[in-house]
Symmetry: C2
Subunit: 311 residues, 2 copies
């Protein structure tokens, strides 16, 4: 039976990833879109989640691609109506709000899926398997990009709950928490806030673990001329490197991935299977590390950020 999906929020991530991936995955079909600003041909188009739920027969599941700050109310309505719910990352504006959604999903016997798209990249599963069989010496995360190139005009990302540089950085944390054989937790956090913004433009983090793993991460949005989305793991059997945000994996320079990258197709294949089983998949550890990063963070003020660079 085909899973009929309605997308809420037809922004960049929905158009670039969700729409084509739903088309490509067997057993999943896009039947509706709720968006105030945009339409998609060939499906039911409405403005809001409320309008969508007035056409409840048209879909089985909702994919929430709206900014995280308003997502709880939308998810609550959809779950209450007996619809499965997929949450883009981050799953919400706070950690605690997700617990109530999990409870409701269980009561209604529908699926709640908090997605971490980077976990579906080609490098993650082979990296996890390799690290399970070796000794890890240290982990170094470098996640650096140009915010003007990757988040043009995304005002919400600079607002409280929008996470700032943690919006891409949480992708790195979703990889690290998936591949390491033990949990990690923050023990150092330096956050760099532009003088005119409510969210950090860079962060330097240090993590500890029960066995004493050394993990560091540098997130920076001020890097132009090319991205660095890398996780380096120094092990007893060589230097394992995840590059291109999870697309590439190598050990001492020898490639270990040969599969194509299917991040969002992997997400929708898993969502289809979760919905069929009416089970959930909610791992909050990446968002928890971000919340802890703010809790423990030492704030540093840096140069104001303007969307249009000064001439």
């Amino acid at each position: 039976m085909t899973l009929r999906v309605a997308i809420v929020g037809l922004g960049k991530i929905a158009r670039d990833q969700h729409v084509p991936s739903i088309s490509a995955v067997e057993g999943v079909e896009l039947t509706a879109v709720a968006s105030r600003n945009a339409e998609l041909p060939g499906v039911l188009n409405v403005a809001t989640i409320d309008d969508l739920l007035a056409h409840a027969d048209a879909f089985d599941a909702v994919a929430l691609c709206t900014p995280p700050q308003g997502r709880h109310a939308q998810a609550w309505k959809a779950l209450s109506a007996g619809k499965h719910v997929l949450l883009e990352k981050p799953p919400g504006a706070t950690v605690a709000e997700i617990a109530s959604l999990e409870t409701l999903a269980r009561e209604r016997e529908v699926s709640l899926f908090a997605t971490w798209h980077s976990r579906f990249s080609a490098a993650v599963e082979p990296a996890r398997l390799f690290l399970a069989g070796t000794q890890i010496r240290s982990v170094r995360v470098l996640w650096k990009e140009d915010v003007r190139k990757w988040h043009p005009g995304q005002a919400w990302i600079w607002e409280p709950g929008g996470l700032g540089v943690f919006d891409p950085g949480i992708n790195a944390l979703s990889i690290v928490t998936a591949i390491l054989p033990e949990p990690i937790f923050l023990d150092r956090s330096d956050l760099f806030f532009p003088a005119n913004r409510a969210a950090p433009i860079a962060a330097n983090l240090g993590f500890a673990s029960p066995s004493g793993l050394s993990v560091s991460a540098e997130f920076d949005w001020r890097v132009t001329g090319g991205e660095t989305w890398t996780v380096e793991v120094d092990t007893a059997d060589g230097l394992l490197r995840i590059q291109n945000g999870g697309r590439l994996l190598d050990l001492d320079g020898r490639s270990m991935t040969d599969e194509p990258d299917l991040e969002y197709q992997g997400i929708y294949a898993r969502f289809r299977d979760l919905c069929a089983a009416r089970s959930g998949d909610v791992d909050l550890s990446p968002l928890q590390l971000v919340a802890d990063g703010f809790l423990l963070g030492r704030r540093h003020e840096v140069e104001a950020f303007h969307e249009e660079p000064a001439r």
Copy 2:
């Protein structure tokens, strides 16, 4: 069998509360103290947790009264040595670090108790019972005190992980999360940082809940001339007021408490029972709300804070 307790960190809270409460509770005995700066007559005195664990026969359980920033390492060592562990509030500098302690405690079959002393105040249980049987309209928390009076010289409280005004505020959150019939989560957070400090001196918070409860909280450290530690709950059956941090409870002005306040005695009686059963009690919801408050927080800079007021 008497539970032999070692206190780590003989600061203000240990002297004011832990030492006398351990004396007062049957079945619990103080046998050791680890402190760099202070000693207590009649018990084993050492400097550090490592020194303490070199005398492992002298105690069964450790009460960690040190600042939260270094507590994880101490708790890890004590649990690894097979000792029960009591954590003063807040239980750690981050939420995620506590999960690894819970796992270890289960493995070693010892007790881990994350304490919230305000939950043992006289008002909490009658308030919880009353609220379970009425309709709640709104909740208003006012938690205001003079930081110079209540936290003199506590430099750690202004450091990252020290929580600032959330150090007392988390007591209010521990009460609110104990008495309300459903979970709450942040939907608004304004944080006021002195220009020269890494932690907030005041916070205004708004919370939501699954059923649409309206909960607000004002924390302020800049109030002189008397404390306000109040939780007001407007209900269909009258205005329920918790005052004096949990010592007093009244409904429309009529007192509903007549028991003496035994916060820390309640803690040690419960710890004794938990250890006898080798079970744990770790509720992180107050700390989670604080972490979410930082995550979602909008920062406002206010006047610099100096321990000695300007003349």
